[in-house]
């Protein structure tokens, strides 16, 4: 049984509607209670996209549908959605009400699919799982019910093309920027990539080429795993698994070398000179900045952060801890994984955290109840200046502890993020700018 949660940092399954919103010109159709859509858009920032938020059609369950079922209402809603909105893909998502009263929304959607409509149905009642898990359910449903029907080619592979699963749109506030950087570095070593989400993707046309990719890339400790496993089974595509977000010089190079190596085992012709040439150029740019920053980091007499607590999802926790320790010298203290990671993945995440340093152990806690995580930070005390990287809830905590604070996870009402990313070489430099920019702002 799951425990209660204070200060939630993620959504329930229907929060996965943002996965749909992130696909250009796709529309989520909610078969749910009236408040679900508003709770979702109120959790995420600037999350309307093309047809989410107030635009998203919803059957808005009332007492009548709870008693008599809402399938008819859904059918009418979908039919009229085609009249009112111009969209390329429709994804029906069910909420708690529909699931508990036993509506068969799948049958309703199927009737439209039989008429030739590009419609997908996914069961996403809030009690089923978090949006971290629902993301995979939705992507797999789109693959099975849409991609599989409309794909240009199911069998012939294009070895230089890969599908990337590296982020949960909107739940990751940096998803757009991260995807942009991934595309840049993939192209840098000679791979073409299907991003599938956001403005740098090719929308539904790109989704249709999923089966043609030579292999898949998963950047995540656990979420998204069901997608690449599904694709492996369905289209015989193996996957390259990098279990955290690569941030900065060390880790991005490690990621790219591993990726190139994997690609070669899949028969992709990636000349070593091209890969190493790209890496060398990127590292040159990255370390030129770090070199010129070092004096500041080592000498600034008025105080810079010495240690950090991060409250984020597991991918960021590992990525940020590795990055800050090795590339800025900020020492990670207690780290709090807030994304409700299923038990079976805990060990792998701990193992990855243990690799960060052979000199020190970084304590990591799996704590979706972020109120409890905060309590632990309140009670901890270390010499030097502290930094908290977390969500909007943590601003007051940082103030009370007199720590520096960077808002980098949801919910994040105190920060505006548009296309900023923290992944890759560029993301690493940006993270440094953001942290030390905040610190310098404290000097008036």
């Amino acid at each position: 049984m799951s425990g209660f949660i204070e200060q939630q940092r993620f959504m329930c399954a229907i929060g996965g509607m943002q996965t749909v919103v992130a696909i250009p010109r796709a529309v989520p159709i909610l078969h749910s209670g009236p408040g679900c859509g508003v709770m979702v858009s109120g959790f995420f920032d600037r999350a309307k996209g093309y047809a989410g938020g107030n635009t998203a059609p919803c059957s808005n369950f009332t007492e009548r549908e709870v008693v008599f079922g809402g399938e008819e209402k859904l059918e009418t809603l979908i039919r009229n959605t085609y009249k009112v909105l111009d969209t390329d893909l429709q994804v029906v998502l069910t909420g708690c009400t529909s699931a508990i009263v036993g509506d068969d929304a799948g049958q309703v959607a199927k009737r439209f699919a039989e008429e030739g409509k590009p419609i997908v149905y996914v069961d996403t009642p809030g009690f089923k799982c978090s949006n971290f898990e629902a993301h995979s359910l939705i992507v797999n449903a789109v693959i099975d019910q849409y991609v599989d029907r409309y794909a240009y080619n199911h069998t012939e592979k294009d070895p230089g093309l890969v599908n990337l699963f590296a982020t949960i749109p909107y739940q990751d506030p940096f998803w757009k920027g991260n995807l942009e950087e991934f595309k840049r570095i993939f192209q840098g070593i000679g791979l073409r990539v299907n991003l599938l989400f956001g403005p740098h993707s090719g929308g539904v046309e790109e989704w249709k080429s999923i089966p043609q990719a030579g292999f898949n890339v998963l950047v995540s400790p656990w979420y998204g795993l069901p997608i690449v496993e599904h694709l492996e089974e369905k289209y015989g595509q193996p996957f390259y698994h990098f279990p955290y977000l690569p941030i900065g010089g060390n880790e991005t190079t490690r990621f790219l070398r591993g990726l190139a190596e994997f690609a070669r085992t899949q028969g992709v012709d990636l000349p070593k000179e091209r890969v190493e040439g790209f890496v060398a150029q990127e590292e040159k740019v990255f370390y030129e900045e770090l070199d010129s920053l070092a004096t500041f980091l080592l000498e600034f007499r008025y105080g810079l952060p010495n240690f950090v607590h991060v409250l984020h999802d597991a991918s960021y926790i590992i990525g940020i801890s590795k990055f800050l320790l090795h590339e800025t010298g900020i020492v990670p203290k207690e780290q709090f994984v807030t994304d409700n990671v299923p038990e079976e993945y805990h060990e792998g995440i701990r193992a990855e955290m243990a690799k960060i340093s052979d000199k020190k152990t970084i304590p990591v806690f799996f704590q979706p109840d972020a109120g409890a995580a905060q309590q632990q930070i309140r009670e901890a005390s270390y010499p030097g200046r502290g930094l908290i990287i977390g969500g909007g809830w943590d601003k007051q905590l940082a103030k009370d502890k007199q720590y520096d604070f960077l808002s980098a996870s949801l919910p994040s009402p105190y920060r505006l993020v548009m296309t900023t990313g923290y992944a890759g070489y560029k993301g690493g430099l940006r993270l440094i700018e953001d942290i030390y920019g905040k610190v310098l702002d404290t000097y008036n």
Binding site: I5, Q8, G33, C36, T62, L77, V84, L85
Partner: protein, 495 residues
């Protein structure tokens, strides 16, 4: 019959309690007439977009009480947007003398599949106990959700049981989303929980204390009330439990919006003997005059009220005239909640703008006090004349988009987030003023007028946005009647 019954665990939703509706097309006068004849029936839509539900509004009424904790009993998503109250509380505390606002304590029982099958009673009980230990609040509110409601958890029983154990009020608030299409039913549910569990019978009266049912707007009343020798008791955001307990000692209750405060004001009057003002809130000259006179009468400060009004008139009337010159004849469209929407329409008329129509989220034919003089739409029509194109529409964006595209007013005045975007997408200057207190009194007319002038004058941004924006609505839809998907059930015979 009174709509207030504090012995009952739940308050009825507005549809059943007040006969409120969410679908209507016609004019404001027609709606008033229809409502007065008891011929108001709701209309259904065969296409609809995400609405909003009572949970947020119920939480809004209780989460900002200084020493409270709130538990959402349901899946974690049902508390998804509640963090917003944490932000609000921190940034607006300065208006209410809360200089170091602390984090809001908002919990979810995080109901999972197991709980929906076997029930969430035990989990709820355990959560209440642990929340008490972690927070040591002076009250714990439990807001219910669709899931906890449908599976039939005994929230009332659990609350009573744990309340006995921990010795502080544990107040269940029944606000399942599917029960009402009118999310303001959530305010009533929240206030019901406050009135039942917190407000105590008055031990004495404080002759200068006036309750103000409001959100978290700027402290305009504090300044005004000083001139009337009154003190403002703001309910419920930023109040403490102790302060709410003694709100029964006040001499009167006023509210910034009858949609918001109808139920709490009526409960204070009917159960605790604090009279509710029988005049619509002070927006526009006519209502401002009536409101302050009535307040003066209720608090035995008639002379002070007259002095106040005279001073205000002298100070602001000249600029109101100037603004009327500038704005006279300009066209406007309003989208807002009910009573506040009426207030905004009044302000526009006061400034001589011409409303082309309004999309108002719902309509209450009557408020809980049950007196005609509080009928803010009727007051509006009587003072300023009819409003054409008066559409009752619960944030159905597609209808608004269609209407804006055809009416192209000089300005869109919105209240509640998300709607101004559609003005801007069509290049229409769009204004949303979050602070509900901004437009009150003579001063408010001037402040609003200045902002409208400013928005119309500085339209470069919306014009530019209109050139680059993407609109997901089909060409077909933009050419249809805006009410094409609104059922005809409302074609009442009285028309």
């Amino acid at each position: 019959m009174s709509t207030v019954n504090l012995k009952a665990a739940e308050v009825q939703v507005r549809e059943n309690r007040l006969g409120s509706i969410t679908g209507f097309k016609g004019t404001a006068a027609e709606l008033v007439q229809c409502a007065q004849c008891g011929e108001l029936t709701d209309s259904e839509r065969s296409f609809s977009q995400c609405l909003g539900c009572s949970t947020s509004n119920a939480t809004c009424a209780v989460a900002l009480i200084q020493d409270s904790a709130v538990i959402s009993h349901g899946p974690v998503g049902c508390a998804g947007r509640l963090h917003d109250y944490g932000f609000t509380y921190r940034v607006n505390g300065k208006h209410r003398g809360v200089t170091n606002p602390q984090q809001r304590r908002i919990f979810s029982t995080n109901m999972d599949e197991h709980d929906t099958v076997y029930g969430g009673n035990e989990k709820l009980a355990a959560t209440i106990r642990e929340v008490y230990e972690r927070v040591k609040p002076n009250v714990i509110f439990i807001v219910t959700t669709c899931a906890s409601g449908i599976i039939g958890d005994d929230v009332q029983g659990i609350a009573d049981e744990v309340e006995q154990e921990i010795g502080i009020p544990v107040s269940p608030i029944f606000c399942e989303g599917f029960r009402s299409k009118i999310w303001t039913s959530g305010f009533d549910a929240g206030y019901h929980g406050v009135a039942r569990k917190l407000i105590k019978p008055a031990a004495k009266k404080q002759s200068d204390l006036v309750n103000i049912v409001n959100f978290w707007g700027t402290d305009v009343f504090g300044e005004w009330f000083k001139r009337l020798r009154l003190r403002a008791n703001y309910l419920t955001p930023y109040a403490t439990v102790a302060q709410i307990e003694t709100s029964s000692e006040a001499v009167a209750t006023v509210q910034i919006c009858s949609t918001l405060g109808s139920y709490l004001a009526a409960a204070l009057e009917q159960e605790f003997g604090v009279p509710e003002i029988s005049v619509s809130p002070p927006y526009g000259i006519e209502q401002t005059e009536k409101w302050f006179r009535e307040l003066g009468r209720m608090t035995d400060r008639e002379a002070e009220a007259e002095t106040f009004l005279r001073e205000e008139r002298e100070k602001w009337l000249p600029e109101i005239e100037e603004l009327r010159e500038k704005l006279g004849g300009k066209t406007a469209y309003v989208t807002a909640g009910a009573s506040h929407g009426h207030a905004l329409l009044g302000l526009l008329k006061e400034l001589r703008l011409r409303p082309l129509g309004a999309a108002i989220f719902h309509h209450d034919p009557v408020y809980d006090k049950g007196v005609d003089s509080l009928d803010s739409l009727n007051n509006l029509v009587e003072e300023y004349g009819d409003i054409p194109g008066y559409n009752v529409c619960n944030k159905q964006e597609f209808e608004l988009v269609n209407i804006l595209n055809r009416t192209k007013p000089d300005i869109l005045l919105a209240r509640h987030g998300g709607m101004t975007l559609w003005g801007a997408k069509f290049g229409i200057p769009s204004l949303l003023i979050g602070d509900e207190h901004y437009g009150m009194g003579y001063e408010g007319i001037v402040k609003y007028g200045r902002r409208i002038v400013d928005a119309i004058e500085n339209d470069e941004f919306v014009k530019n946005l209109a050139r680059h924006t993407v609109i997901p609505y089909s060409k077909w839809w933009l050419e249809q009647d805006p009410y094409a998907f609104l059922g005809s059930a409302l074609e009442a015979e009285g028309f």
